[in-house]
Structure formats: structure tokens, C-alpha cells
Symmetry: C2
Subunit: 203 residues, 2 copies
């Protein structure tokens, strides 16, 4: 792993603060793993990453290099400046305890990405109710002509990554996904790295 890379252990989450101009690199270190990502304006936590705004402004479901991720207030939160995978989802809510019960018949009460995002965001006072539809990095959701959706194994290979430039001060939370169907039942870790604008300015 590069210097400064942080490993998100399987089935867990992590949050980090970014300044405008910082770059967040989200890496699938082993391939076929998903990272659900959400974000909030650090200076006003009622402003959050909005799937519906981002999809509308891009006029497409699947965002990639050059696309902007917008907030509910229609302001840019991130720009995708690199994407070596090219396929992510922005329609589904993070997996949750209730989702595991309904779709997988589980009764163990695992928190899922929703619970793990909420746990990571708790220091900022953000609870589970406020975890929206996430930007599900590397998640492969196919839609057929009748609108049926299928969750397929991710197209990501070991080392694939997405580089996001923060466009405002943010709190961002990410997971290593807990949903078997989303990660081809492999439950691997996710790595991330923050490249600070302030370090580039010094260099």
C-alpha cells in the first residue's frame, strides 16, 4: 500500500474530513468489492450528497470520470477525476440490518453499510435516518429494458480506484460492503488515501 493508505476492514466503515481541493482515492485492493460512500457539507450538515440531483444533472445513471456529484442543494460536492473501473451504482440505499432480513433471510442483525456509515458519522451527530442513497463505488447494478434491476459481481479488479476531488469542506464516510450479493460473497477490505491540497501547495 502507498504511504498514507488506510485499510477499511471487511464489513466496516470509516469517516474522514476533507477540505475543498483535497483528493480522496478509494481503492479496491483485491477486486470485486464495493464501497458505499456518502458525504455532508462540514459547515452545514443538512447539505448532503444527493443521488437524484447528480443523476439528473448528468442525465445518466452511471457516473464516471469528469462527472460531478451534487448535493441536495445542487452544489458540487465532488468531481470524479479518475476512475479505472467505470461502473458504480447511485440508485440503491446501503445494505442494512432490515435489508439482510428481507432479501437474504438473515437474523443475525449485522449493521450493514447503513449501520457502519452511521457509526462512522456518529461523531458529527449524523444518525442512521440521515444516511441517504449512497454513491456505491464499484457496485454493479444492471437495468434491463423493463426496468428490472440485477445486482451483479463488481467489474473492479485488484487495484482499481476512483479519485474524487472535494469541491467543498466535507465529512465523507465510506465502507467495505457487507452485502454478499454486491461483492460476490467475498467480503473484502477497501483502501483509501487522502491527498491534501495543502501538501500539494507546499510541494
Amino acid at each position: 500500500m502507498c504511504e498514507g493508505t488506510v485499510r477499511i476492514q471487511p464489513c466496516s466503515g470509516h469517516a474522514v474530513e476533507l477540505e475543498a481541493g483535497d483528493e480522496l482515492v478509494v481503492i479496491d485492493p483485491m477486486g470485486q468489492q464495493v464501497s458505499d460512500l456518502t458525504a455532508f457539507n462540514r459547515e452545514d450538515l443538512d447539505e448532503y450528497l444527493s443521488s437524484g440531483r447528480s443523476i439528473d444533472y448528468a442525465s445518466k445513471l452511471w457516473l464516471t470520470t469528469g462527472d460531478t456529484l451534487y448535493s441536495n442543494r445542487s452544489r458540487p460536492m465532488f468531481t470524479i477525476i479518475e476512475d479505472t473501473c467505470g461502473r458504480h451504482d447511485f440508485t440503491l440505499t446501503p445494505c442494512s440490518k432490515e435489508m439482510f432480513e428481507k432479501l437474504y433471510g438473515e437474523e443475525e442483525g449485522r449493521p450493514g453499510c447503513e449501520g457502519n456509515l452511521a457509526r462512522a458519522l456518529a461523531p458529527w451527530g449524523i444518525n442512521r435516518d440521515r444516511v441517504p442513497v449512497a454513491f456505491n463505488i464499484f457496485m454493479h447494478v444492471a437495468v434491463d429494458a423493463e426496468g428490472k434491476i440485477a445486482v451483479l459481481p463488481p467489474l473492479s479488479r485488484a487495484g482499481d480506484h476512483v479519485r474524487l476531488r472535494a469541491e467543498m469542506p466535507l465529512v465523507v464516510a465510506m465502507t467495505a460492503c457487507s452485502a454478499g450479493q454486491s461483492n460476490n460473497f467475498s467480503y473484502k477490505p477497501i483502501d483509501f488515501r487522502v491527498e491534501r491540497a495543502s501538501d500539494r501547495a507546499k510541494a
Copy 2:
């Protein structure tokens, strides 16, 4: 119009309280108009209608008769018990002042469905930041094989309607849509009617 039918004037919104078992009939009286609908648990307003949960549990983008609309807490909020149109959207956020500026080049500052939903929900203390991806009744969004989306004229004809049964006590807000592209630049009204479970019990 049937007795008890309320007209939502063009480019405006309306909110109403429902008890579990009440039925809400949303009608397109003239055809090719869209109604953005959102809802909150009346007893705990942090629980709201979730596109991502509903799409995930239905395994399809386009919901119709027999499908359930879920909350962010994975609990049923509505069941669609009649749908004479068959095509609605659940991926896009309501049109807004900023969306009109970005996509249509407008500068008049019209509130859009987002502003009209927030205005209708203000008596319950719900503001614009809390208007999520709506269930956009009669909105016709097509997705091609590459994920490109197109907003097409609604398939609804005069008199088409959707009948939703409330599955919990709700505050629900609806609009007559303000976005030209969504309603084929016709800006018509929307009608709705509430059939109370308590009235059926008396009959």
C-alpha cells in the same frame, strides 16, 4: 370531479394527513402531467419515503400495482393498489429553482416541485433540505443500455390514476409538476382524493 376531489393548481403543491388504511387516489385529469409525491411518518418525521429502499426491495426501477413503497427504515409506507398508467419514476429529485437554472437556463426563480413540496410541508416543520428523491407519479424516465436517461412525455391519459393505501399514519405532499420537460410543457393541474378507512368502516 368526484365528490371530495381536490384540485392541485398548476405549478403548486398540497399536503394531507393520512391514517393507516386510508387510500389516496392521485389523478391526472387532463393527461401528460406529473405529480411528485413524498411522505413522512406522522408520528416520527425522521422516517421518510425512500426511493433506494423501495427500488431495492422491488428489484425494479418502475413500480406499479402490487408494489410497496418503503421508508428509510424499511417499513411499508404505501401499497400501490391500482395504477391505470403503469409508468412512474423513482430516481430523480423534484425539479427545483437550481435545476431550472442549470438544465433550462431559467432565471425567474420558480420554486419547482421541491419548493412547492417544502411549502406544503412547512406546517409540519419539514424544510427543503428534507425533500428526498420523490415518487414521481406519471413521470416517464427512460434508461438506455448505457445508463443514459431521457425524460419523455408522460404516458398518462386524461383520467389515469394511481391508488395508494397508507400503511402507517402519514403526512404526504404532492405537486402538479413545474418542469416543462416532465409534463411535455403543458403545466396542467393534478387532482387527488382521500378515501378514509373510517368512512368505509361506517358504510
